[in-house]
Each structure stands twice: as structure tokens, then as C-alpha cells.
């Protein structure tokens, strides 16, 4: 059926081409058929059923309107009761062409244990600020490993706006959440993150000391890369102390050498 202006134009174009004896643009009909197949697509079915969508996405490079249309159609599938395999496919495609407009549909999957990862697969790769905001907003509403996943993605995106929330999570009862929060703060690598990690690594329980040291080191490296030598050096000095394992002390000393321009 005619869903968008671009579809109408494509079909009119196809008609003209057919009349001129040129090969018809059958792709649009194939894409429609693929979207129909997608509604019930599941593991074990022929992956080639969806190939027209793959091809359409590839062909839409440089055509913002076509990409927007495809992304919109894909996002709609996420709101249906299509099988997990279908939504998995959609998230992979949105990870390539998704934009701010795709975020609401993806955000809706973040609390879903089975689909949270694939929602992040798209959101984490999407440059749009709305994508990060969706994950930031979801963080307090999810728990367990789903929460860990969201935290990890915020760390990859170095979301400084999450700093306060992540600092609070350093006291969480779930050790995996604590470890993830520390790692994310390390990736954010801001002076605020550094302060929180500095406090944390002094009082971290034994099981979390390796994670605390690693996060603190990562923070130092981020600070150094951002030109904040003094802050980075302070961390390296702290981690060079005797109570740290040898490999941490060595990494800290190497960091100090880097900070002073010596290798």
C-alpha cells in the first residue's frame, strides 16, 4: 500500500521506466514483501526473505528521505508483537541508519530482558544525543544485568551527565552494578569521576578492588588524553602505592612516564 510520498514517487518512476522499455524498479515491491515477512520472522526461517531490506538500506546511503522512511518502518515493527528474531534484525538495521526519530521505539525495549541488549546495540552506536538520554533515563528504572548493560553503554558513550547517578551506584548492593558504574566513571574520565573513583578505590571491598583500580587507571588515561596531566598524574601516584598489586603499580608508573613525556 502507499505509505509515504517516496513510495508513490518510486512506483510512478517504475511505471515510467516500464513504459520506456527500461527495467522496472521492482525493489520497492520487494521491500514491502520483506517487511511483511518481517512481521513473523523467526530463527530458522530463510534469512534471504529480509535481504531486500538489507539492500534498500545500503542503497539509501546519501538519500536522507529514503533512510528516514526505512528507519520509520523498522521502528514500527518494534511496537508490534513480532518475534524476538524480527526485533533483533530491526535493531541491527537501526544501528546503521537510526536517528533521533528511532529512539522512542528503541527506548521502549530497554527494560526488556530479552531485547535490552539489541536496543542498546542500536542506541549505543547512534550519535544522537537523544539516544544517550534514553539510556540515561532508563538506568534508574531497570535492574540486575539489564542495568549493567545500560551502564556499560553509558560508559562507552562517556556520558558525563550520568556522573552523579553512577557515583551513587558505587554503593549499590549489586556488585556487578558497582563494578559497571566504576568502569563507566573511568571511561567518562572527568575530574568529578576521578574524585569519586579515588574515594571508592580506598574503601572498595576486596572483591571489587581490581575493578576499582582498573577504573581509576582508565580515568587517569582519559584525563591524560584530554590534556589534564596534573589530574592524571595524581591518580598514577595514588596507584603506585605499595598496597596495589604489582601489575597495577607498574601500569601506574608507566602512566606517570607518559604524563611526563617519557616512555
Amino acid at each position: 500500500m502507499f505509505k509515504t510520498t517516496s513510495t508513490i514517487i518510486a512506483l510512478l518512476t517504475a511505471s515510467i521506466l516500464v513504459c520506456c522499455g527500461l527495467p522496472a524498479v521492482a525493489a520497492e515491491a520487494d521491500v514491502d514483501k520483506a517487511f511483511d515477512a518481517l512481521k513473523t520472522y523467526d530463527w530458522g526461517q530463510d534469512r534471504n526473505l529480509l535481504k531486500p531490506i538489507d539492500d534498500a538500506i545500503v542503497g539509501s546511503h546519501g538519500d536522507a528521505a529514503a533512510q528516514k522512511d526505512l528507519a520509520s518502518r523498522l521502528a514500527e515493527v518494534l511496537k508490534t508483537d513480532a518475534p524476538q528474531a524480527a526485533k533483533d534484525f530491526v535493531c541491527r538495521k537501526l544501528s546503521l541508519i537510526g536517528s533521533a526519530a528511532s529512539v522512542p521505539a528503541l527506548a521502549g525495549l530497554l527494560p526488556d530482558e530479552k531485547l535490552s541488549h539489541m536496543a542498546r546495540y542500536a542506541l549505543e552506536r547512534m550519535p544522537a544525543a537523544e539516544a544517550v538520554k534514553a539510556m540515561r533515563d532508563a538506568m534508574p528504572k531497570v535492574k540486575g544485568r539489564v542495568k549493567v548493560g545500560v551502564i556499560n553503554s553509558l560508559g562507552v558513550r562517556r556520558d558525563a551527565e550520568s556522573t552523579a547517578s553512577l557515583v551513587a551506584l558505587l554503593a549499590d548492593a549489586d556488585k556487578e552494578v558497582v563494578s559497571a558504574a566504576a568502569a563507566a566513571l573511568g571511561e567518562i574520565g572527568s575530574p568529578e569521576a576521578a574524585k569519586a573513583l579515588g574515594d571508592f578505590q580506598k574503601k572498595a571491598p576486596e572483591a571489587l578492588r581490581p575493578a576499582a583500580a582498573d577504573a581509576y587507571l582508565a580515568c587517569a588515561e582519559r584525563l591524560l588524553a584530554d590534556g589534564k596531566k596534573a589530574e592524571a598524574t595524581a591518580i598514577y601516584k595514588a596507584l603506585s602505592a605499595g598496597e596495589q598489586p604489582k601489575h597495577v603499580r607498574m601500569a601506574a608508573m608507566r602512566g606517570m612516564l607518559s604524563a611526563t613525556g617519557k616512555k
Binding site: G44, R47, H61, K114, Y121, N152, V156, A183, D214, H247
Partner: protein
């Protein structure tokens, strides 16, 4: 026997009590060493992670070195665990080799100096980085990584923690070394084109689900990859792209592009002195002007994914933009120690020199493989900045330089 240490090793005893112990300590003959084994304090204690066929092959190579003591093996499959343990126990004539399913038990042991890993590709980065962050050196089978950013993270971790990291690919010098030396010496002239065909890219997997056998920890096998139902052809080590093993599937491998790319691109880039950098343009086949995928380097070298290889074609006359010169200094770059790549790795573990297949070279080669796969998937020419390691101004391609990991995993 779990991989967690169950007895006080001599190394740990000395570490925690200092040399001057207050109580008598019985030094065992095993600790003292013997005619065919160095004393314990001079041994390199190793563990194997990912002990399928290739993993056991690598393990066997290390077991042949007198200075190595393998103390633990790890695999998500019980069959592979047992086969690896049997190898180790047979070598030492005891039952002491620990086994485990979860690599974190190996990583947590501070008596292990180094690991050898031949886990599936999608695990290489996580395993290796965890090991390095716990103070261990790493010998990791090729291909180095599943994505470009994983590879860079592995390099950065190795440098930050001062770890020795050697990747696999014995063919770079073993099979392709003679021709590489001719290129490096200038004997073949000014090279303009090279040809290296490793085979094709991976594809999406949509195998149906089957009951999970007792033998495998499926969730751990998947690890950071997207969840999918178990099927033996998802995770088998069957070779090639025929759909019967993990190398076929994009979620776990870069296909033959990375599997043989590690050898062929690795061989070519070593020969040409390009394995410290990368191409600036990648052009996929288009059925018209471009028969094969082609990488163009800043020095003007064109590397084609076709025509067998590695093989090299010299320029005929002056080629505009071709500035490549034979990298004669590479004639000295070679294995150290004894026993090929494993021997080179062990030598470097002791001396702390960078190994022949240092992680940076392996990353540059793997990156070339990944760039090719991205070009195959996007079906359009791509520009690449090998210094910043990004596609300038190409948001879509840049999204493909990493893959968000399934919780709880992260680099």
C-alpha cells in the same frame, strides 16, 4: 579440579612471606627443577583458554618448551576441557592440571604468568584484556579481534599494563617469509600492486534453535555476542564459510577475510613494511570497474583481494603517486628464541621485548580485514584515516567500528 588455586604454591608462599621464612620449608624436587626442567622460579606458568582443536595445537607447542609449566586449562565445553587436561597431565606425568569453564577463574590466579587463547574470535578481546589487566602476558590466535575498536583496546591495554602480547599467524614468516624478504630487499623492484585473497566475509546467522547439550555452557560461549538460540553449527569449529561453524557467522567472526586475512594480509603488509599503518581508501567490487575489493595505501600501493597471493607486481615505469620503497630495515625483523612464534613469545616474556607478531601489527592487519568486511557490507567506496582510525565524515561506517556488548560484558 577447579582452576581456583587449592594449594599454596611456592611462588605464592615466597610472595606472601618473603624470602626469610620463619619456619622450615621443604623444597620439592619439582620446585628445584631438574635436568630437563628449569627451577620453578624460572618457569613461565601458563594457562590455556579456549582449548578446541586449534587451542590444543597451540598448547602442545608451549608444552614442548621446558621453561613452560601449564597449570590450568579452560573451555566452555567439557570435552575440550578434558582433552586439554589429559594433554597436560600426560606431559608432566601427574593429574595436577586444573580445569574450569569460566576464564575468570584463570584470570583471578596470580600464579599464572601468561595465557594462550584460541577461543572463538568474538572472545579474543575480552579474554585478552582481562588477562592483561590481571598482570598476564597473552598469546592469542589470529584474527586478533572482531572489531576495529576491540583491537585498539587490546593494544592500549598491552601498552598501559606493559604486557607482552603476541598474536598468531605463523604463516607470515613461515609460509610467506621468503618472498617477503625479496620484497624487502628490493630484489623485486618498486612494488605497485599486491594480491592476497583470504576468502570471503561472514554472513548473518539465522539457524533454528536446538536443545542445549550438557557439554556446553551456551550463555558463556555466546558471551558478548547477541543472544541467539543454540545450534551446533553456530559454535562448531568447522572450517570455512559453509555454514557449519562459527567462522561463517558475522556475530562471532570476520569470516575467511579475518581468518586467512591474518595470514595473507599479514604476510603482504609485513613484506611491504605497511603493518604499522593502514589503507586510506577501500573500494569494494562493483561488477563494473572493480573486479576485486581493493585497498589503497598512502604510499600508492594497491592491495587486491583476489589472485591468490600474497604476490607482488612491480611498477612498470613511473607511477604517479607511488612513493613506496623497499623496507630494507625489516630484513632484521625475525623470531627470537627457539620454536617459531611460541618460542618468540616466550623469549619476549623473559626479555620484555616486543614479539614478532606484536599486538600493534596484529591490530593493523585485523583492521584491514574489518575494513574490507565493512566495505563488502556497505557496498560503496570508503575513505579511512589510519592515524585517527576512523572513516572521515562517514557516520554510518564509523558505527560499524565496534559492536555494543551483551550484558554484563564490556571491554
Amino acid at each position: 579440579m577447579s582452576c581456583k588455586p587449592t594449594r599454596l604454591t611456592r611462588r605464592r608462599f615466597l610472595k606472601t612471606t618473603g624470602v626469610a621464612a620463619a619456619v622450615p620449608y621443604v623444597i620439592t624436587s619439582a620446585a628445584l627443577g631438574g635436568e630437563d626442567r628449569p627451577p620453578a622460579s624460572e618457569r613461565i606458568v601458563m594457562a590455556g583458554i579456549g582449548m578446541g582443536g586449534r587451542g590444543r595445537g597451540d598448547l602442545g607447542a608451549f608444552l614442548g618448551h621446558k621453561e613452560v609449566q601449564v597449570v590450568a586449562v579452560c573451555d566452555v565445553r567439557k570435552g575440550a576441557q578434558n582433552a586439554a587436561k589429559n594433554m597436560v597431565d600426560k606431559r608432566y606425568g601427574n593429574q595436577d592440571c586444573a580445569v574450569c569453564t569460566d576464564f575468570r577463574e584463570v584470570v583471578a590466579r596470580d600464579d599464572i604468568d601468561a595465557i594462550v587463547t584460541a577461543a572463538p574470535d568474538h572472545w579474543h578481546a575480552l579474554l585478552s584484556i582481562a588477562a592483561m589487566k590481571s598482570g598476564k602476558d597473552v598469546f592469542c590466535e589470529k584474527p586478533l579481534s572482531l572489531t576495529i575498536k576491540e583491537g585498539r583496546a587490546m593494544v592500549d591495554t598491552a601498552r598501559s599494563y606493559g604486557r607482552i602480547f603476541s598474536c598468531g599467524s605463523q604463516r607470515v614468516l613461515g609460509d610467506y617469509g621468503r618472498l617477503a624478504r625479496e620484497v624487502q630487499s628490493g630484489k623485486l623492484g618498486q612494488i605497485h600492486k599486491c594480491f592476497a585473497d583470504p576468502g570471503g566475509p561472514p554472513r548473518p546467522c539465522n539457524l533454528p534453535g536446538q536443545p542445549i547439550p550438557d557439554d556446553i555452557d551456551w550463555d558463556l560461549w555466546l558471551g558478548p555476542a547477541p543472544w541467539a538460540p543454540y545450534h551446533p553449527f553456530r559454535c562448531s569449529a568447522a572450517y570455512g564459510l559453509g555454514g557449519r561453524g562459527f567462522r561463517t557467522w558475522r556475530d562471532y567472526s570476520g569470516g575467511m577475510m579475518t581468518d586467512w586475512g591474518g595470514h595473507k594480509f599479514g604476510g603482504a603488509m609485513f613484506a611491504l613494511g605497511l603493518d604499522h599503518t593502514g589503507p586510506v581508501e577501500i573500494i569494494p567490487p562493483d561488477g563494473k570497474d572493480h573486479k576485486w575489493l581493493m585497498y589503497k595505501f598512502e604510499c600508492g600501493i594497491e592491495m587486491y583481494v583476489g589472485g591468490g597471493g600474497p604476490r607482488y607486481e612491480a611498477a612498470k615505469g613511473n607511477v604517479p603517486g607511488l612513493t613506496w620503497e623497499p623496507p630494507k630495515k625489516l630484513l632484521e625483523r625475525n623470531y627470537r628464541g627457539h620454536g617459531g612464534l611460541p618460542g618468540d613469545f616466550l623469549y619476549c616474556v623473559k626479555t620484555r621485548e616486543l614479539p614478532f607478531r606484536d599486538v600493534e601489527y596484529a591490530h593493523r592487519v585485523a583492521t584491514v580485514c574489518h575494513l574490507g568486511n565493512i566495505a563488502y557490507e556497505l557496498k560503496r567506496p570508503l575513505k579511512w584515516d589510519p592515524v585517527k582510525e576512523e572513516f572521515p565524515g562517514d557516520d554510518q561506517a564509523n558505527r560499524m567500528t565496534w559492536r555494543p556488548m551483551r550484558q554484563p560484558w564490556r571491554l
